[in-house]
């Protein structure tokens, strides 16, 4: 077919606290308030997405961790209850997710032909990870678009951040090629926070905002460094900085989502829109969009083969 393209890339962190604080009907626990500035940031992101025409969301979450290759959800629908293993008091979410299996299989095949180890996940009892659910809910609470869910291969543990990046760059390229071949318009989501040193105990009232702050100043400086690169279209430099950033801030970028997404966008040189930055149990979280619709922001590097 051909002619498909990525219409936007999103950095959409997945702390369950934000869903908890929204009180959607799918989530069992109820909150009084909390993390408003980040939630308002997500509101701005959703507003922006309303003006973008897209068919499918492609997401990579660090909470579906696989050690033997990269996996893709491979059935049309998954419906169950997701309980966060760390914050079960905040997140017990009844989900009903439609999967674009056709596109998932195309990315799978493209990645395989590029030499990556891949596998389709076709067990109907499989429980979708809470990172995928949280980022998708906050991005598109109507759940009216199918998704492609990609696991986080933990090559970082076996080798290094550098090896992880090599693999994720390949996966990003495969994603871009598969989307082009599919003829679909896709939003790609990197589901992760930035600095990830967090508190190791929880305040009595989880949404007590008087307890919320960045874990330490060094994390904040690193977050600002990364955000400034995003704002200035310096994503190549950001990728180069990734190993040091990941090590210094124990960042969730070790899961590969941000590298994969920037690779799929072919390293945008135009500025990202930063909708918000805030902390959740001490971690740094930025909500950002790379809008490829602008003429000047056309992604280069997709050949029409």
């Amino acid at each position: 077919m051909g002619g498909g393209r990525i219409v936007a890339g999103l950095l959409a962190p997945h702390p369950p606290h934000l869903v908890y604080a929204e009180n959607p009907p799918q989530n069992e626990p109820k909150a009084e308030c909390g993390w408003e500035t980040l939630r308002w940031g997500y509101e701005r992101l959703r507003k922006q997405l309303e003006s973008i025409d897209y068919d499918v969301i492609v997401i990579l979450s660090p909470h579906w961790q696989t050690y033997v290759g990269t996996h893709f959800l491979g059935l049309d629908n998954f419906k169950s209850l997701s309980v966060d293993p760390i914050f079960p008091n905040l997140f017990r979410y009844h989900y009903d997710i439609n999967i674009d299996v056709e596109l998932a299989k195309m990315i799978h095949d493209e990645a395989e032909s590029d030499g990556l180890s891949v596998r389709m996940m076709e067990n109907p009892d499989f429980r979708v990870d809470y990172g995928t659910i949280t980022s998708c809910h906050l991005t598109n609470p109507k759940w009216d678009k199918p998704i492609v869910s990609i696991s986080s291969n933990r090559s970082v543990h076996y080798y290094s951040v550098e090896v992880m990046q090599e693999m994720m760059i390949k996966l990003g390229e495969a994603t871009r090629k598969a989307i082009w071949k599919s003829g679909k318009k896709a939003v790609v989501i990197s589901s992760n926070s930035l600095s990830h040193r967090h508190f190791v105990n929880e305040s009595e009232v989880p949404e007590d905002m008087s307890k919320e702050h960045i874990t330490n100043h060094s994390q904040y400086l690193w977050d600002m460094k990364m955000i400034n690169m995003m704002k200035n279209g310096k994503t190549k430099e950001l990728i180069e900085m990734m190993p040091e950033f990941t090590e210094q801030t124990v960042a969730e970028t070790d899961g590969g989502a941000l590298t994969w997404m920037l690779s799929s966008l072919n390293y945008p040189t135009y500025p990202a829109t930063i909708h918000e930055y805030g902390t959740i149990i001490g971690t740094g979280n930025a909500i950002a969009t790379w809008d490829t619709n602008d003429e000047k922001r056309t992604i280069q590097g997709v050949s029409s083969k």
Partner: protein
């Protein structure tokens, strides 16, 4: 009657022995070994099975499964193509509360999780499905905190032992973990199964040689080296042996048996049993601190600290009138004596309020050596021992005397005594006679109580209030 650990098991976490043992001879041998372990549990007459799986990682303190009958169909994140794992377990909810409370009492952040659908990890599902298939025993399940290192993990194990004693039950404790955890990062066929590298294999065999000899503490002490040598370098340390030693006892007095050692997708997997042995003393190759209470850094959101800081800040703006109150506060000093036995928790030996000195409970342990004059009331396995109550009471009062003198008071200034005995019938007469030797002429008020247990293996503890000398 105190509960006790009757058996320890080390078992693998991968789902292969549960879901498809027939596909590989090695997986079949692991399945057979699991079955042997199940029979050992049955023979041990254990009433409860406690599982610590390294695959249930927690980050906010330590979590304990508290739902009575958790039920789900579990699928592994990596090996989903091998099939689903339906389960329904029976949890001892009272024991779960005890686990959490015991952990808190030893300074750990902990909570019970009691939610339908809470994800029980692959390792726990595999272990409980194979070791306790009909739920004949009720179970306890505890998490493995991602960041906890040796001290915290050992304290967690000790707190589990506290809960076991309190439960009055015979308990089989199970650690679910691989040895070397490096898997092949690509697909392999079952017949290609082998340990990932020769180095991993050599280390696995070294560990198993120790365990086969019952040398749990030696393996526990080797854990950091094991982590460096054969573990994929995640955030998580190799900690299962720390926990197991914490709960079973930090020694080598076990009858060990390796029932199987095989690879699963390249990782080293073994089934090992350890049975407490009373008639033999094992070698101890290492000597590190034996931590009783955790005083670590889990206080990021500690409101007490921030409130104190706030008070300090406010103090600088206060009037002269309120600064007098500050001076009064400063008089509330606490004291710790280097000549007295180290406290076993986060408390000072004594605290001064006004012209009175309040002492924490003081036992007979000797400073530095921790030896107990008159002998301990039980050994490391929990077996009761004979002891001399008079010697313990003398040592206890001498310790009190030391603390009082180092805090600006003396035995003659004592105005009130509260004594705790673990066996009133056996010990009261001896205690009373020594007490009379020291306090007969001073004549403070006194209360004597019998209690179930004291934190260390002693028979008497005393708490006093004394006047401070001008």
């Amino acid at each position: 009657m105190n509960g006790e650990v009757v058996l320890g098991l080390f078992v693998p976490a991968h789902p292969h022995p549960l879901l498809c043992p027939e596909k590989s001879p090695g997986w079949a041998r692991l399945r057979e070994a699991y079955e042997q372990a199940r029979m050992i549990i049955e023979e041990s007459e254990a009433e409860l099975i406690l599982v610590y799986s390294t695959l249930w990682t927690s980050i906010i303190g330590h979590q304990f499964q508290g739902l009575k009958e958790p039920e789900w169909v579990h699928v592994d994140h990596d090996f989903h193509y091998l099939g689903s794992m339906p389960y329904k377990f029976l949890i001892d909810t009272k024991f779960a509360d005890n686990l959490a409370n015991s952990a808190k009492a030893r300074g750990l952040e902990s909570r019970v999780v009691s939610y339908h659908g809470f994800p029980i990890d692959t390792g726990t599902v595999v272990a409980l499905s194979l070791l306790n298939p009909d739920n004949k025993l009720s179970a306890g399940i505890c998490s493995s905190n991602m960041y906890s290192n040796r001290a915290e993990t050992i304290v967690l194990g000790k707190s589990a032992n506290d809960a076991i004693k309190k439960s009055g039950k015979k308990v089989a404790v199970v650690v679910v973990s691989s040895l070397s955890n490096r898997m092949f990062t690509d697909k392999i066929k079952p017949h290609e199964e082998k340990i990932h590298s020769q180095k991993d294999d050599e280390w696995n065999r070294k560990i198993l040689e120790f365990l086969d000899d019952g040398r749990l503490e030696d393996v526990s002490q080797l854990s950091r080296e094991i982590h460096q040598q054969i573990r994929v370098q995640k955030v998580v340390a190799f900690k299962p042996m720390w926990w197991l030693a914490g709960v079973m006892g930090q020694h080598n007095n076990f009858a060990g048996k390796v029932h199987a050692y095989e690879s699963v997708h390249g990782a080293g997997c073994a089934v090992v049993s350890l049975i407490p042995k009373l008639d033999e003393v094992g070698d101890k190759e290492y000597d590190e601190d034996d931590v009783e209470t955790y005083h670590g850094d889990r206080n990021v959101l500690d409101t007490i600290i921030s409130e104190e800081n706030e008070e300090e800040n406010n103090d600088s703006e206060l009037s002269e009138e309120s600064s007098n109150e500050n001076e009064e506060n400063l008089e509330k000093e606490s004291f710790s004596s280097s000549r007295a036995p180290k406290p076993v928790g986060a408390y000072p030996h004594a605290r001064k309020v006004g012209d009175l000195l309040y002492l924490s409970g003081v036992g007979p342990r000797q400073p530095k050596s921790n030896a107990i004059p008159g002998g301990p009331v039980k050994d490391v396995t929990g077996k009761n021992l004979d002891y001399n109550m008079k010697a313990q009471t003398i040592a206890c009062i001498e310790n009190i005397k030391t603390i009082l003198e180092d805090s600006g008071s003396s035995l003659e200034d004592v105005v009130d005594v509260t004594s705790f005995l673990i066996n009133m019938d056996r010990d009261f007469a001896d205690y009373n006679s020594i007490y009379a030797d020291y306090f007969g002429e001073i004549r403070p008020t006194r209360t004597t109580l019998e209690i179930n247990a004291l934190p260390t293996p002693i028979a008497v503890e005393m708490k006093v209030i004394a006047k401070i000398k001008n």
